[in-house]
């Protein structure tokens, strides 16, 4: 069983490395959106520190969201998704493997650049540390929920934007808890409550999202 997940994982990682720039690009998007704000909003340090956590969380969300529309779409277009669904292994595992691969390719790199951006926004080290922690819990939620959205919008024209529309409302709690945790540590009220809520949300999505996504995948392929 886990051999199948590993096979899916290895395949998706190989495909990602084959186009070397691919995972870098999401990271650059993150950096770019985060840098647009000071340009649009103005350079006052105090205010930037104030809006920093929120902006970084939103930028991270958008960055890994953009890649979600291709979670199944590429495989659908060239027919390999049908082959995968027709494999004797359960579709849930396929979805899990692909979500995991998505997180490794697009989630992890965000964790690596986030501190740099945090410094740019004048966040304290403690706040940066909590930001990292919250992104560590929050980005896999997006990959999991995104699996549902990607499966539902498979093969639809304008699928990418539609996916965003479907997924963002579901993802709002993660955003609130995540940015709230960083805000909390900056305001001195502590981050534990927010982080544990975020953790609970993660566990919940891990338990529910893959099943719904695999059901949606079968429906979409029909």
């Amino acid at each position: 069983m886990h051999r199948f997940v590993l096979a899916v994982l290895r395949r998706d990682l190989t495909l990602a490395t084959r186009r070397r720039g691919d995972w870098l690009i999401a990271q650059f998007f993150f950096v770019m959106v985060a840098s647009l704000f000071p340009l649009g909003v103005g350079p006052e340090p105090a205010m930037l520190a104030r809006i920093g956590p929120g902006v970084l969380w939103v930028a991270a969300t958008l960055a890994s969201l953009l890649s979600l529309s291709r979670l199944f779409a590429d495989d659908h277009r060239d027919g390999s998704l049908e082959h995968m669904v027709l494999s004797p292994e359960p579709t849930v595992l396929l979805v899990l493997g692909k979500s995991l691969a998505h997180w490794l390719i697009y989630g992890i790199p965000l964790l690596l650049v986030a501190p740099v951006l945090g410094i740019q926004f004048n966040l304290s080290w403690e706040a940066i540390w909590v930001l990292e922690l919250s992104l560590l819990l929050g980005t896999p939620i997006l990959s999991l929920l995104g699996g549902v959205g990607a499966a539902l919008t498979l093969g639809l024209r304008g699928g990418g934007v539609l996916l965003t529309l479907l997924i963002l409302p579901l993802y709002v709690p993660a955003l609130i808890f995540g940015a709230g945790a960083v805000d909390g540590v900056m305001a001195g009220t502590g981050a534990e409550a927010h982080l544990s809520l975020l953790g609970a949300f993660f566990v919940l999505s891990l338990m529910i999202a893959p099943w719904i996504a695999s059901a949606a995948l079968r429906v979409s392929l029909e």
Partner: protein, 244 residues
């Protein structure tokens, strides 16, 4: 062509046809009664003046927006579990009305907020969660619009409704967790019991009217969908011929 279970849509079509006038008239009468209460029986509020009269549509609309979503999720779950077409049709028929009520709740809230808080909109948890509910509705409707295969659309929409429903309470309770400038209770219902009673009555009457309206509209929609989906069957052909 529908090779199984078309007996029940046919029966439902007729039943719905009989029920619609009752609910429509009920909605009309209740609305008139409710409006009479809200404008001519309810006294002026000593804090807010007349502005509070918005409550008589704001609160029923806000209630409906949430209830309808839950009912849709219920029908969707039934449809997915038992593969009954009628429940998918019900879910589809409810969505536009739910979105409409959500919009009305937002709009009336905004118009109430301006005189009370001095702002059309604040990013308060309750307001935000209502906005997100609107996004959920729109997402579901957009998904249905984007899929033209009926069976796929039914199932995909229901799956989305379900996973969204899990989220609704989370969003709703985030009031507690979210650092917010929380909206103080502007009217204290308990302060003037006599006034509270008449206000509660007005809200309830209009809420029931909204329910009747929703049911009537949803039934009309379901009837239309049934006709479209069962157009190959004899009974639909017979009905159309009779109308000619």
């Amino acid at each position: 062509m529908n090779l199984y279970t078309y007996a029940s849509p046919a029966n439902f079509y007729r039943l719905a046809g009989k029920l619609i006038p009752w609910f429509a008239w009920g909605a009309g009468i209740l609305t008139v009664w409710g409006l009479y209460i809200s404008f001519f029986m309810a006294p002026t509020d000593f804090q807010q003046g007349e502005a509070y009269r918005i409550i008589f549509i704001h609160v029923p609309a806000a209630w409906m927006s949430m209830f309808i979503y839950m009912v849709m999720a219920f029908w969707g779950a039934i449809g997915l579990a038992f593969n009954t077409r009628l429940s998918f049709m019900m879910a589809r028929a409810l969505a536009p009305t739910g979105a409409m009520f959500t919009f009305v709740a937002l709009w009336t809230g905004a118009l109430w907020g301006k005189p009370m808080w001095g702002a059309w909109w604040v990013w308060d948890a309750r307001l935000t969660s209502e906005l997100i509910l609107l996004f959920l509705y729109i997402g579901i409707i957009a998904l249905w619009a984007a899929i033209d295969d009926i069976r796929r659309g039914d199932r995909a929409g229901s799956l989305l409704t379900l996973i969204g429903a899990i989220n609704v309470p989370i969003i709703y309770f985030s009031v507690k967790w979210w650092n917010t400038l929380h909206q103080g209770s502007t009217i204290n219902l308990m302060k003037a019991p006599s006034m509270a009673k008449i206000m509660l009555l007005g809200m309830l009457v209009l809420a029931i009217a909204a329910w009747f309206y929703t049911i009537a509209v949803a039934l009309v929609r379901v009837r239309r969908v049934i006709l479209e989906r069962e157009r190959q069957t004899e009974w639909v052909k017979a009905i159309l011929e009779k109308e000619n």
